[in-house]
Subunit: 608 residues, 2 copies
Amino acid sequence: MTYRQTTEFFLYDWLNVESLNQRTRFADHSRETFDSVLDTCEKIARDKFAPFNRIADTEEPWFDGEKVHLPESSHAAARAFQESGMLAAAQDYEIGGMQLPCVVEMAANSFFSKAGIGIGGGGMLTSGNANLLMAHGTELQKQVFARNEFAGRFYGTMCLSEPQAGSSLSDVVTRATPDGSDFESDPFGPRYRLRGNKMWISNGEHELSENIIHLVLAKIPDAEGKLVPGTKGISLFIVPKKLVDAQGQLTGERNDVALAGLNHKLGYRGIPNTLLNFGEGKYPVRGSAGAIGYLVGKAGDGLRCMFHMMNEARIAVGLGAATLGYAGYEASLEYARNRPQGRPMGVGGKDAKQPQVPIIQHADVKRMLLAQKSYCEGAVALELYCARLVDELHTGDEAGAKEAHLLLEMLTPIAKSWPSEWCLEANSLAIQVLGGYGYTRDFPVEQYWRDNRLNMIHEGTHGIQALDLLGRKVVMDGGKGLALLASKMNGTIERAMAVPELAAHGNALAGALKAVGNATKSAWATGNPEEALANATPYLQAFGHTVLAWIWLDVALCARRQPESDLTQGKLAAARYFFHYELPKVPAWLKVVETRDDTCRSMDDAWF
Amino acid sequence: MTYRQTTEFFLYDWLNVESLNQRTRFADHSRETFDSVLDTCEKIARDKFAPFNRIADTEEPWFDGEKVHLPESSHAAARAFQESGMLAAAQDYEIGGMQLPCVVEMAANSFFSKAGIGIGGGGMLTSGNANLLMAHGTELQKQVFARNEFAGRFYGTMCLSEPQAGSSLSDVVTRATPDGSDFESDPFGPRYRLRGNKMWISNGEHELSENIIHLVLAKIPDAEGKLVPGTKGISLFIVPKKLVDAQGQLTGERNDVALAGLNHKLGYRGIPNTLLNFGEGKYPVRGSAGAIGYLVGKAGDGLRCMFHMMNEARIAVGLGAATLGYAGYEASLEYARNRPQGRPMGVGGKDAKQPQVPIIQHADVKRMLLAQKSYCEGAVALELYCARLVDELHTGDEAGAKEAHLLLEMLTPIAKSWPSEWCLEANSLAIQVLGGYGYTRDFPVEQYWRDNRLNMIHEGTHGIQALDLLGRKVVMDGGKGLALLASKMNGTIERAMAVPELAAHGNALAGALKAVGNATKSAWATGNPEEALANATPYLQAFGHTVLAWIWLDVALCARRQPESDLTQGKLAAARYFFHYELPKVPAWLKVVETRDDTCRSMDDAWF
């Protein structure tokens, strides 16, 4: 099966995405228009991304003191991506968008991440930045910044982390002070001067676009000049690299934002990752140091604005991890089909006089390929399911939107974390299938593995997703979200019980779901977050495997309803793999959660 | 604890290595002499290896058409290693050795692999090569080749794989034909001309030593000029890069061995990995093409000779994987102690007004550190246990040697595979502890992770170890090896049952051991290797975790007997981690083994 065939199966057969066309927003769409978007993206990815993925890795971004240089092929890929219109795919027609459902947009964009995740300027960041402005910006902010981002004229960044704070956003110390006495009369909104350092900023400096629009978290000092501790004091600002006028034209003024350095990474090398200095006076602007920034939304509301976009960003990260895994699966499948080595093991041993067979005939190679298929296709299905929920959130009726919101709250930590762990494992298996060749840079699999290792770190580490899930999501509103998710799973289980071939899977999932429920209660039995959360990560792993088993069972039900084909057989086999080889791991992870095991948290520093 | 402290605890307190000094061979040794070897190696590793580990990675070996170049720091490290005498550490005094026990030799060498696994010319290969000649070579072969290798004047390689054969040695097609009518009268033994290509040859070309001694597997054609299919037709040859006379002096003749290319790898970059052409005529020698090689042992006995050294080589690979894991553990522990970020989660949430705490105070960071400790120290303990068995094999009484042989047969697949999988996972956790910093090349952890990924591939892949274990080792001699290993484990379990604190671990291990035994029987219940071996890898994983639980329980018993200290508390905590977080995974792996699950082996190519 090709990735395209599997994607279409998920979109049309499983998620019934065509039914969205009955909604006003998508009324002009049809399977044909969706397919043509997929065609376009698949083609650009094949022609402009895939052939240059290794170059993006070997020719790392470099800084000549003024400009950051990327390979010409990355510029060409970025141009082709811009021209595809995908930056504005989900936007209204009237601002140049396609009014595409999120689920189709994500599926179409996944061709790019599969072909070259570090190439082309990271469109997701730019459209995410612009989407945030569409939700929280003023009319002029939308008009000038968001629309030029959707058009690809400007690119966007998200500036959250700082060297001393990392994931701990409450410790942000970038300061925003009013810029002059007329600071409140700027057409772009209250105008501030920002001073501080931002770390880990993807695409913080490059020449791919006319301008770079930084969205920056900073604190406005109180009357005594002090920063408010915690996240409540954080505000959000638009800080363009080059200042623009109300018509969106560059004024010729360079803002006081300077590249302090590029990070040299293990993977994802096509994307320049930067340390940025705001307002240190390297580029004094309008007569003084300090980066000019315009407040977005209300002061103190910065984190809420930023997190508005977090669900979609996390789904996108998960889908990127899934497609990286899938790329390795494809490469190792091709290798296994073409590499002759060894002979089948029969009752009488091996017959060395026979010719060698392609290694795909060996059971252990099949196991490694099927594991990859099960991880990566399962992950793609999960991400598309979540993207479909985003559509429900935006265009469903009130009850549907409410339900979608709650399900997304529950599933986002899994959508972010699960593929980043298991599709990385898939990439390792792809290396293993290729053996020594997989360990060389002559084949792409080692790069996929390096690239994918980022995904457990950025957009909230694994540990942070785990705290979010067990510390907030499963307990919020008295456990309403968990109850809703369980009811969805139970629906699938019930339908599976009616299909003899899938009934055992249904039973197994019911058992896992019950175990997760019990572990959730046991973890919180003492009400002490320190005890409950000490094993949040194993809980996240168990929860994730349970969710994926549910996704696979639901996909299997869909495959079972169709006429038998190689595709449906493959999906049923991948589901079976997941139930037989993966789901049994759940009790092992839950054991320490249930018992509130304190082995780790009681570990003394001196004993290490 | 430092690595040195832990190593000494394993050597002296747990394995009671000093008792070896009662044996004649080691009579001149004492804890003082052992410690002084450890001192020397630790110091050289710290001064000559560790500071240059990144350089060995970034300045890859390169070929100017004639010579392979390595960084000067790698030459200096190789010189220091040679001068340490460690190449001949285990050899007799009379040939310049130290008569060091294998377990002390391995422990001492582990400082080098921890400091820079790709630096210094891979002494293990050279001494392994020479050891093989000591076991199977003629007096002159030992005198000229082995002794110069032990002295570091010559370096060695092992040439097994070929491009078309990979792990399938029965498909080796390198041909060895008699070199002239007087081929049997060469003082070095029967002289042949070899023609063929060898792939994945570590240290196949370099300037670190005066000469390179290749040990090459090749086939001698039968009377009709045909190669015998299968492994029985394989013979072993000494093929020096430069020919030498019976006094070991270079004759000035270059042998017909040519570098065809260097592999560019994901890691382990300090070691040149080569494709070698034997006998293609690039360097005609004595008037004709064909690489001159001298038969070692009997014709057709090549694989047996080669595998004679395999146990020690595989233990060394496992120990290398363990020390790479440990290096990451050290780096991430240091980072976690020094990096302030976030605040403890209390009943009332977090107090943002408090200063940030070092991340080692967070439970999830402690979990990641303790997991690393448990994986890596456990792996080191296992490897030293195996090395101690090698000493028993060589210097024990008859019964002891026989038992050691059988235990080594059982444990070698685990010693090779387990650290290569789980200390790689440790390296990934080290990256995770460092977060974004861990993903940059400014910190060493990403390199350890890349380096360690090799270990599941070379010296027999994971899949091959699994087939060896379930296909041969556990069934040989009617299951004698498994029974012996089980009796050793039961001894530990019995002792643990008498210690209240460890009794639960003892019960858990007994359960796992029973499950492994049952799964072994079920796998072979039909007697069909295809069915039995389809899930050999999950079996290997379950078996490995059971073995490591046993090792940890035995180590815990030793720690428990000592006065309480940070070291003993740490060992007990790491054991507890293994029993609570890791051992419960065993049933998940065994499930498919017990049921001879055919999901993978029945997977149709077209369904992928």
